[in-house]
């Protein structure tokens, strides 16, 4: 009897410990997120929300533009590599090699990617720090994520889809492009949002590629001019780089407040993207559930 009592006591104690740890974790998240967001927005002055030298909106634009550019590069490449991995090189030596490369890429420290980008896209091309080099560096980081989500999504499709396409006399590419790709488009999209989320916060890979200054003239739309917002060959400081530079070389008087605001905006972006991914995957789940119900 003594032993059973002891076991029950231990069970109750450990349950309490687990609940405490988990509760503390949730509390930490809540406090952390709301603190960062509130501190950022409450401490900000109105001029920080302008597209000027003192404002943070130029940095926000750079961040979004850089992520857009990097997705433009990494999405076609990643989706192609994912299709290659799941449909064209199934189980072969080549597929093993690509898989190994994807794993290596995804575990690479971002500072190493930044160094590689600095060497190849800046030193070897002879250009000054520019957004395109930053976007290329970030797309190296996004590539494994998009490739593996595409490959997983395609693998999870029932083989009947492939057989159906072949049975109708479609070629392999027709089957892939008309049947398989549309069927897993939502999942690929989820992967792209995840990759974009990673790109927004990236700083170490951009340190020596995208540069730490930004000087935009919003009435200048000559694509070749270094102050044109849309010129990808200009230096562009992102929000996360701004936080870093306010730590290393805080020159402006309100640098800390501006960095707080940058952190708050980054946090908000993370929350919004997370909600997007959740909504999207719920939608996918409901859709695939509906399909299985129909097939029964």
């Amino acid at each position: 009897m003594e032993r059973i009592k002891k076991a029950k006591l231990a069970d109750a104690c450990m349950t309490a410990v687990f609940c405490c740890v988990a509760g503390a974790f949730l509390l930490l998240l809540l406090v952390f997120a709301s603190y960062v967001i509130l501190r950022g927005f409450l401490g900000a002055s109105p001029e920080m929300f302008t597209f000027t030298r003192k404002g943070m909106m130029n940095q926000l634009f750079n961040t979004v533009y850089l992520v857009f550019l990097s997705l433009l590069i990494s999405a076609p490449l990643g989706i192609g590599a994912g299709i290659c991995l799941s449909e064209y090189t199934r189980g072969g030596k080549l597929s093993e090699l690509i898989r190994m490369c994807i794993e290596t890429l995804s575990s690479l420290p971002s500072i190493v990617v930044g160094l590689f980008g600095y060497l190849v896209f800046i030193l070897m091309t002879g250009f000054k720090w520019n957004l395109l080099a930053g976007a290329l560096a970030v797309s190296i980081l996004c590539l494994p994520l998009i490739t593996s989500t595409t490959c997983d999504a395609m693998r999870n499709l029932p083989d009947a889809y492939r057989a159906g396409g072949m049975g109708l006399g479609a070629t392999k590419w027709q089957t892939v492009s008309h049947i398989l790709l549309p069927a897993c488009l939502p999942r690929i999209f989820t992967g792209m949002i995840l990759a974009a989320g990673r790109g927004f916060g990236e700083a170490a890979a951009l340190l020596y590629t995208a540069g730490m200054s930004t000087d935009l003239n919003w009435s200048n739309w000559n694509l070749l001019s270094p102050t044109c917002p849309l010129n990808p060959m200009r230096p562009g400081e992102t929000l996360s780089l701004y936080i870093w530079s306010s730590f290393t070389e805080s020159t402006a008087a309100n640098a800390q407040k501006a960095a707080n605001l940058s952190a708050a905006i980054l946090m908000l972006l993370v929350l919004v993207f997370n909600l997007l991914v959740r909504k999207l995957s719920q939608h996918i789940d409901r859709k695939s559930l509906g399909e299985t119900v129909c097939s029964k």
Binding site: T15, L77, Y88, L94, C101, L105, P109, I111, V120
Partner: protein, 302 residues
């Protein structure tokens, strides 16, 4: 005529897709080759020995092409990385294991609906935000609590790292626990186990492979983190003497000095050698994860 176009299209797309696959291989190979090429310069061009790089504390590389009288001992930074990450893992592992167990074994419905999304949000927060918050809150806090002249210490760095990797480990460990078959639990309960006995003797051992994978992934993330650590570790080039001394890690020394050196100098190639070391360590982590997976498969067969 139409059929011929169709075949051309077929081959065109096949080669394009294979080209995408080849591009992934090419990018990885290029990164590896450049790292080896630039990183080996310390040993081949400037003639330092590998043991000097790994074990010497004397880091005074010469910022010139000839590298006269320069020394490239990186032991300070290697120890800084090892200690800050090791400590972070020690702090984060028990806590994340406990929250994973909570969300799978104790309140599974709540865990699925609220806990998992919360963990996902935490995983997605950019590390620079962790670093900045650590710098503005944790650094003054550590300084006041332990009555130190500066709050930028290796202890602060490992606190920031542990908060950062905690959600990553939790998420992988929870997935591993979720994958444990329900029959195992039912069998344990059927023999009269309490829940804690079931967790300790059945669920955690059965999920141990996945839990170790989570720990290694967390370690890899901590090892590769540069800027968040640089903000709180103090960036001093001294060997660490205790938990509360400032030091540098491999990543921070690269991040803060790469911009001040010229390509081809001894200083520059010493930094590249450190990047190469980081690359090799991340390969080691992948290898460890593969070993674990293989071991798990063998267990499954028996």
């Amino acid at each position: 005529m139409r059929q011929k176009g169709m075949f051309q299209k077929e081959y065109f797309w096949r080669y394009l897709i294979l080209l995408c696959g080849a591009a992934v291989i090419a990018v990885t190979a290029a990164i590896g080759i450049f790292l080896f090429y630039k990183g080996a310069g310390t040993f081949t061009v400037f003639g330092h020995s590998i043991s000097e790089f790994l074990f010497s504390r004397d880091f005074h590389p010469n910022d010139s092409m000839t590298g006269e009288n320069g020394t490239v001992g990186a032991a300070i930074f290697i120890v800084g990385s090892l200690v800050s990450c090791g400590l972070a893992i020690l702090i984060a592992t028990p806590l994340s294991l406990a929250s994973a167990i909570f969300s799978v074994e104790i309140l599974p419905k709540f865990g699925e609906r609220f806990f998992r999304p919360a963990v996902d949000i935490f995983v997605g927060i950019p590390s620079i935000v962790y670093g900045w918050t650590g710098l503005t809150i944790l650094v003054p806090f550590v300084r006041r609590t332990f009555a130190l002249p500066y709050g930028n210490t290796v202890f602060t760095a490992s606190l920031v790292l542990s908060v950062m990797i905690f959600p990553s480990i939790t998420s992988v460990a929870a997935d591993a626990l979720r994958a444990v078959p329900q029959e195992l639990r039912a069998a344990a309960y059927g023999m009269g186990c309490t829940r804690w006995q079931m967790i300790r003797k059945v669920a955690v051992p059965a999920a141990s492979g996945g839990i170790y994978t989570g720990i290694i992934l967390g370690l890899a993330r901590a090892f590769g983190e540069a800027l968040a650590v640089a903000m709180v570790i103090g960036k001093s080039r001294t060997m660490l003497t205790g938990l509360f001394s400032a030091t540098s890690s491999l990543t921070t020394v690269i991040a803060s000095n790469m911009g001040n050196t010229f390509d081809g100098t001894e200083y520059n190639s010493a930094l590249w050698t450190m990047a190469l070391l980081l690359f090799l360590i991340s390969l080691l982590f992948i290898f460890a994860i593969h070993l674990l997976a293989k071991k798990g498969e063998m267990h499954g067969k028996n």
